[in-house]
């Protein structure tokens, strides 16, 4: 077997030092293959966002090694596209210019973009169209709803055609209809030209609809309780979420999540 694209070797993470030290991640080892679509589910506060920041190099592991594309991660890496839990759009930039941001920074796009902006502007508009934001290109972030900002942030994460896409509850703030529409959009994008995706979500249906491999994490400090590969056929549609296999997988995951949660004392 080839070396995994993303590899964690006994990685731990602790925030703060001394008295204030908060362990966020217990020793975690995992391997994600190139082109794999992975979902990470777990109770809130269990360290899912921290896990993504470790992969992207925004955070340094307290111990252990993170390796991406055969390179040890010691600083932020540029092959990553990341959509954060909050949309984090730059408030002084229009939607279009927010989406164009990676083209201004990541090489080799940076040099090309400086010479000729037109193809990049076209790509940004195309991305905005696929998430239903046509006509909002010139609006400033405060003029968009939370869900629309989140969609713009997704476009920004895809702008520089990253080979590793990290999504931190990107659909959390969306209404059910838009969310399910965007599942289809993301799946179509991924099937066109597979890239590696790590999706953090608390929606088990979303995880099953989009991902092939699902990791279940324990309550803080996070630990991987379960890695499960469901080979559901693609392309998946809303109808396939009612298939027997889908429903059965959902029930199985639900049971594991119930285990992962620290019980609330009053209900224990």
């Amino acid at each position: 077997m080839a070396r995994p694209f993303v590899e964690f070797d006994r990685v731990t993470l602790t925030y703060g030092e001394g008295e204030e030290a908060t362990p966020a991640l217990d020793p975690t080892s995992l391997g994600i293959a190139e082109g794999e679509f992975v979902a990470v589910v777990g109770p809130s506060g269990c360290g899912k966002s921290s896990l993504l920041k470790l992969v992207s190099g925004l955070l340094k592991a307290t111990s252990g090694n993170v390796v991406v594309a055969a390179q040890e991660v010691t600083a932020p890496i540029k092959i990553v596209g990341m959509a954060f839990q909050n949309p984090n759009l730059l408030p002084w930039r229009s939607t279009l210019r927010n989406v164009l941001l990676p083209a201004e920074i990541v090489q080799p796009h940076r040099a090309r973009y400086r010479r000729d902006k037109a193809p990049y502007v076209e790509r940004a508009r195309q991305l905005l169209r696929t998430v239903g934001l046509e006509g909002f290109e010139q609006k400033l972030p405060w003029q968009l709803s939370g869900g629309m900002q989140q969609r713009a942030s997704l476009c920004r994460a895809l702008m520089h055609e990253p080979s590793l896409l990290l999504l931190d509850e990107p659909f959390g703030a969306l209404d059910a209809f838009t969310r399910e529409e965007l599942w289809a959009v993301l799946q179509a994008l991924w099937m066109q030209k597979p890239f590696t995706v790590i999706l953090v979500t608390h929606d088990l249906r979303e995880a099953l609809y989009l991902a092939d491999t699902i990791y279940v994490m324990s309550a803080r400090p996070g630990r991987i309780l379960l890695r499960r590969n469901f080979d559901l056929p693609r392309p998946r549609t809303l109808d396939s979420t009612y298939d027997a296999r889908f429903v059965q997988a959902l029930a199985e995951l639900r049971a594991h999540i119930a285990e992962a949660r620290t019980p609330v004392p009053a209900f224990a």
Partner: protein
């Protein structure tokens, strides 16, 4: 036939013309109301001076100093141009130094902690108190006005820029860092744009400061500029000339302030969210 006409759906109302007209009226009112107020004050002033028969060297009537302004507009304009030049040159130099220095101080925790207290200490010295020192160092002349304006401007800009840059936005920084951005990228694309509203706030302080610094320097150490005209006029008990010069100063001050306000609205509209 008429029944058919009546049954037809009511045409969609054309966009009401009231809105743009209302806006224009409001814009007009925003100019006319303060202008009317200023004219009323001038009229009252005129009346008081005439009724009390005050001598012009105590308080000249507006009609008196406006006629002086018209009659001697050439030398007055020349002096005003000198003051404007010193103010703007000092402003430009002072702000440039302030932006660069403030950005450097704000971008490093260590430098910030080291320099900031000293900066605040210097800031509490009224800069005009330094004018006699400048005269000793650089000799009297119009350049003293420029130097004073520089010193007056660069403090507020430096302090405000340093603070604005130092207060970070970790989430926005992370967006850039996750793309592998350099420190310079983060500075140019996040820290500086984010500091723009505070920067323009400091510009308004700087422009009025540069103006006051220039005038004061001209009254102390120059032989040109409106400040110098003020000194000559008061020495000659020429109240009409002094007030003519003052009215020019007021007009220049309002113009400078309006210009920085206009720039601020144009460049930092995002921070006002349409308000």
């Amino acid at each position: 036939m008429s029944a058919v006409v009546e049954a037809a759906p009511a045409p969609v109302a054309a966009p009401s013309p009231a809105k743009p007209r209302g806006r224009r009226r409001r814009a007009l009112a925003a100019v006319l109301v303060p202008l009317g107020f200023a004219l009323a004050v001038l009229a009252l002033w005129e009346a008081v001076v005439r009724i009390a028969a005050l001598p012009p060297f105590i308080l000249p009537a507006p009609s008196n100093f406006f006629s002086v302004l018209v009659a001697r507009h050439e030398p007055i304009l020349m002096m005003a141009a000198q003051t404007a030049r010193s103010t703007l040159m000092g402003f430009a130099i002072g702000v440039s130094i302030g932006v660069v220095l403030g950005s450097i101080i704000g971008s490093s925790r260590a430098i910030y902690r080291m320099v900031y207290p000293a900066l605040i200490g210097f800031h509490t010295i009224p800069s005009v108190a330094l004018i006699p020192l400048f005269v000793i160092w650089f000799g009297a002349g119009p350049h003293i006005a420029v130097i004073t304006a520089v010193v007056v401007c660069f403090f507020p800009v430096t302090v405000i820029m340093a603070t604005a840059i130092a207060t970070s936005a970790p989430e926005l920084d992370d967006v850039l860092r996750s793309l592998g951005a350099t420190r310079t990228d983060v500075m140019v694309k996040v820290a500086l744009p984010r500091a723009m509203p505070q920067f323009f706030g400091s510009l308004k302080l700087a422009i009025t400061g540069a103006f006051i610094g220039t005038i004061v320097a001209e009254t102390i150490a120059a032989n040109a500029g409106i400040g110098y005209v003020m000194v000559v006029a008061t020495n000659n008990m020429d109240g009409a000339l002094a007030f003519a010069a003052l009215s020019v100063l007021a007009a220049m001050g309002v113009t400078l302030y309006a210009a920085s306000l206009f720039l601020e609205r144009r460049l930092t509209g995002w921070a006002y969210r349409g308000r």
